[in-house]
Symmetry: C3
């Protein structure tokens, strides 16, 4: 239905579904999914909805990043900001109000509640931007610094050289994406503590290079380290969940 | 594959997937999903398939509602009629036959059975209508009163003022949509009997207003009352399934 | 993201999702899904990814079938060949390399690993072909006979007239598609041995003709015999999995 509302306002815009697999109410999982995809979405209009606060006083917003030629539209609850910051400095932000000319005001249905902002607020805004409207036409400007969100965590290195990261995402294959990249640990072998397991791991360039028995660290499609097994779930194997802390110790060349 | 057949016949038509989540063989769930979406689908061609009787003598039909500029295409088994009636009076209906010029008659595959009407009958019809063909070109006119379907239930009020509704739909968040709207009960508090549970409930305007412990009635995106918890499943909490009866008793202002 | 990369290169091409339901790493299930859909995909560019060997030395390839006006793009691991052979003789095949001009080389993200060929290799190739580039522009020609793949199995008939087939696919309704068509057994009743069950079965033309108690063989939408129950799962009923052998014995008219 969100697609239909957008298509009615911007019939020549191409629409792409990024994902419908975010767990209900998990704003942070949605924020990270959008953050991972962001570099490939420019230029464009991005509508995102993970919105447990719909109908409450949480704001609905549109955020423009001129450098990337992107407008992000959704609830101001932390969902949009990691992707916005990845795309560049925020040029403008506005607060959206329900659109009085939106298809909600159908003669067929006039008593709809306030629970489907995707259809009633975000889709009309996205359709109007896609059809060429300026962001200022959607509502009053707000201070970008007032937008809600926290940064995507990065790896921390303590004085002893121990690297602490966390599991950002378990993908559908069971690979566990970490908040650490190859530059954080160098290219040599490391010792990894994950849950109750402590083991030496290598960085390899493909799943096939892991071997049937082992797990390894693979530089994944986001440029981050992922704990992976070959054709089985590393997350199941190690009992990992998103948010779990992972500790890495460099075994060669000293600590950084 | 249904998309590919339509795109071959109407390459410039925009195609939107409404849902692929209807449980197998559940015609009524499909009918209600289409009924909920219907107001946002006009103008357009709507193809729907929940079709356990495919290949039997059940009819394949196209239904035109001129007021809404919509043609509905699918099996005549109850799937289409609630949406059709929501969109306006039926202008015309025709019975579809297998299209002798359809892509089924491929040199690659000539022995296909009669089990995939979505591809072999409905998609060719939808593509032709989307490309501008009149509905009469698809087959013989039939009497709209002969179309199969039952109306979406509404709330019943007995002489003592008790309102009886049923659960129409459990959404992916576990909200239980009822066949009753806010006008059926007024805005005051009500006592609700659902399964083995009897409890007082308020009508609130958003999920966030429910509070962490309670359940409440929320006017949902269809304008109907939904039994909801805040960020948990009300259906699991109360053990509700679609079709379950729900009784509501007004606590203030007397019965209507 | 794969859609976004293609849309960036071929903004006027229509894109269709065939399926996202292939089990992880199951190349053969993906190959059969593509083989079933192939006749309806011409003319077009087909991108397929089930790719456990991504980043290893397995080749990335594009395969052109001029008779069908189709280019298939994906890993050279057996995924593409059944569909290719169904569409016609292979005209040309090339090995793909990472595209130095592809959106991967974003200023935002320059350290991505080699694990997402769908985004980094296949989508740029598909977008370029859809925009009109010749297949030879994507990489060096390779010998089509060097492409990896095995044929879709067909039914075997032994000297005693016993037909041995296998379960190619269990669909979402629990119908079990066999590697045998109606011509393999004639139209009369047959005795079927499937797992521990041995039973007489008829060939019927629709699910509704099966009756509530029985199972039957239905000529399915691919023109193959499927073991089906009416509105229940035949695969659950008989304990069938893909790859299971099924034996059929003709009961009338002697053996072929």
């Amino acid at each position: 239905v969100v697609h239909a509302v957008i298509a009615g306002l911007a019939p020549y815009a191409s629409r792409i579904d990024l994902t419908h697999q975010i767990p209900p109410h998990d704003i942070w999982a949605g924020a990270l999914a959008l953050w991972r995809a962001a570099p490939w979405l420019a230029p464009g209009v991005v509508l995102a909805v993970v919105d447990p606060g719909v109908g409450s006083e949480r704001r609905a917003v549109a955020i423009r990043i001129a450098d990337a030629d992107v407008v992000l539209i959704g609830p101001d609850n932390g969902l949009l900001l990691p992707a916005a910051h990845r795309l560049g400095p925020i040029t403008q932000a506005v607060a959206l109000a329900a659109d009085p000319a939106a298809p909600t005001e159908s003669p067929v249905l006039t008593t709809a509640g306030a629970t489907f902002a995707g259809r009633d607020i975000f889709a009309p805004a996205a359709g109007r931007i896609a059809a060429g409207a300026p962001i200022e036409s959607l509502g009053p400007l707000i201070d970008p610094r007032s937008l809600i969100g926290r940064p995507v965590p990065t790896a921390q290195v303590d004085p002893a050289g121990t690297i602490t990261a966390e599991v950002l995402w378990i993908d559908r294959y069971g690979n566990a994406q970490l908040s650490a990249g190859p530059d954080d640990i160098g290219r040599g072998p490391v010792r990894m503590r994950a849950g109750d397991t402590e083991t030496d791991v290598r960085i390899v360039s493909s799943y096939a290079a892991i071997g049937a028995e082992d797990l390894a660290l693979v530089v994944d499609s986001s440029g981050l380290l992922s704990i992976c097994c070959d054709q089985r779930s590393a997350a199941l194997h190690l009992g990992l969940n998103t948010g779990d802390p992972i500790r890495l110790f460099r075994l060669e060349q000293g600590h950084r």
